[in-house]
């Protein structure tokens, strides 16, 4: 059965991971720009990374029959330096017309600071001015609840942005309701220790329904699992959910949101 992993950092994964994902039915991925585990020292470093996301990675994915798309931004973990952030944001437009770019992401907050918020708002402005989709990162652990509230408030202040074109990611039991109630799409990230397990994601589907909700692995260089989406599908099957329900949450829902960009394709 086919699936889409709508948030995974393939630049950090091996070719064997692509092969395993393809064997499990992955037909398309989307890769948000993120933190490399160290702070880049210049806007040129980000430009190189945007080249990797728009040229190198689609070619790697295609070797396994997987469609690769990406989101561009300066991520919240490197947003504390407003000067560098301005330089990076100025670099982004020259990459936006590349054929696998879906929008701006993963922007958001990390430690909920004033500078992070200002950089988030500047990138929302870039997305709104060009009518782009937005993928939002919410903070980790104890910072998530406060950060999610700040993010929703910031987006609401920009009347140009349609919540139906924004995916707020990494929701858990204490943030999913406020995201869905405000009209946004919500993403559940399946991690071994933090965020959601496959079991808890299935619980959230059973509690909140299937509307505007997806699952992703957010696989990266840290403790994560590039096969988390098919494992969640297995968990739902174990509980007796129908093949139609499982396909909806792992294929049809991401297809519906991502197809708001004419560039998104899930066919081989």
């Amino acid at each position: 059965m086919r699936y889409i992993d709508p948030h995974i950092h393939m630049v950090s994964r091996t070719t064997d991971d692509y092969a395993a994902m393809a064997r499990c039915g992955c037909v398309a991925v989307t890769e948000p720009a993120f933190w490399a585990g160290f702070d880049r020292s210049s806007a040129a470093g980000f430009a190189d990374y945007f080249g990797q996301l728009t040229e190198t990675e689609p070619a790697r994915a295609a070797q396994h029959g997987i469609r690769h798309h990406c989101w561009l931004c300066i991520n919240p973990k490197e947003a504390e330096d407003p000067g560098l952030a301005r330089e990076v944001i100025a670099e982004i437009p020259r990459f936006l017309d590349r054929p696998n770019v879906l929008g701006i992401g993963e922007i958001g907050l990390n430690k909920n600071s004033r500078n992070e918020l200002a950089v988030f708002e500047a990138q929302l402005d870039l997305a709104a001015s060009r009518g782009l989709l937005v993928l939002v990162h919410t903070p980790h652990l104890e910072d998530k609840l406060k950060g999610t509230r700040m993010i929703i408030d910031a987006i609401a202040r920009d009347s140009r942005i349609d919540p139906g074109r924004v995916l707020i990611d990494h929701v858990e039991e204490h943030t999913v309701a406020q995201v869905l109630d405000a009209g946004f799409w919500a993403g559940m990230t399946l991690y071994p220790d933090t965020k959601c397990t496959p079991q808890r994601a299935a619980d959230i589907f059973e509690t909140f329904g299937l509307e505007r909700l997806w699952i992703n692995s957010a696989g990266d260089w840290g403790h994560s699992d590039p096969l988390a989406v098919p494992k969640c599908r297995q968990e739902m099957a174990r509980r007796g959910h129908t093949a139609q329900t499982i396909e909806r949450v792992s294929y049809a829902n991401p297809l519906e949101f991502l197809s708001q960009s004419p560039r998104f394709r899930a066919d081989a």
Partner: protein
């Protein structure tokens, strides 16, 4: 919707092991260091949140997550000192 029996059949042993792991972790903390040394703020927050498991009020996962969340509402002055998160708020720790 599954029956309570079915849920127990599927998940009981997995969560029995997790509960014993948590108990063993707290024993390990007790054995470590000097007897008078207070537990780390994260451990205190964990013990406090564990009370949710037995209060019978439902929505336990949401309420545990809320108890382990930063309760402040104003933006932080700076994020320059750290990028990481600890898993429990320093404010309000017992």
């Amino acid at each position: 919707m599954s029956s309570k029996q079915r849920i127990a059949d599927l998940y009981f042993l997995e969560h029995r092991a997790k509960l014993i792991d948590l108990a063993a972790f707290l024993d390990r903390v007790d054995r470590a260091g000097e007897p008078a040394e207070p537990p780390d703020f994260r451990v205190r927050a964990l013990v406090r949140a564990a009370a949710v498991l037995t209060d019978g009020a439902g929505s336990r996962a949401r309420r545990v997550l809320e108890m382990l969340s930063d309760p402040s509402t104003e933006p932080a002055r700076s994020a320059a000192a750290t990028k990481g998160a600890s898993g429990a708020p320093r404010q309000g720790a017992l």
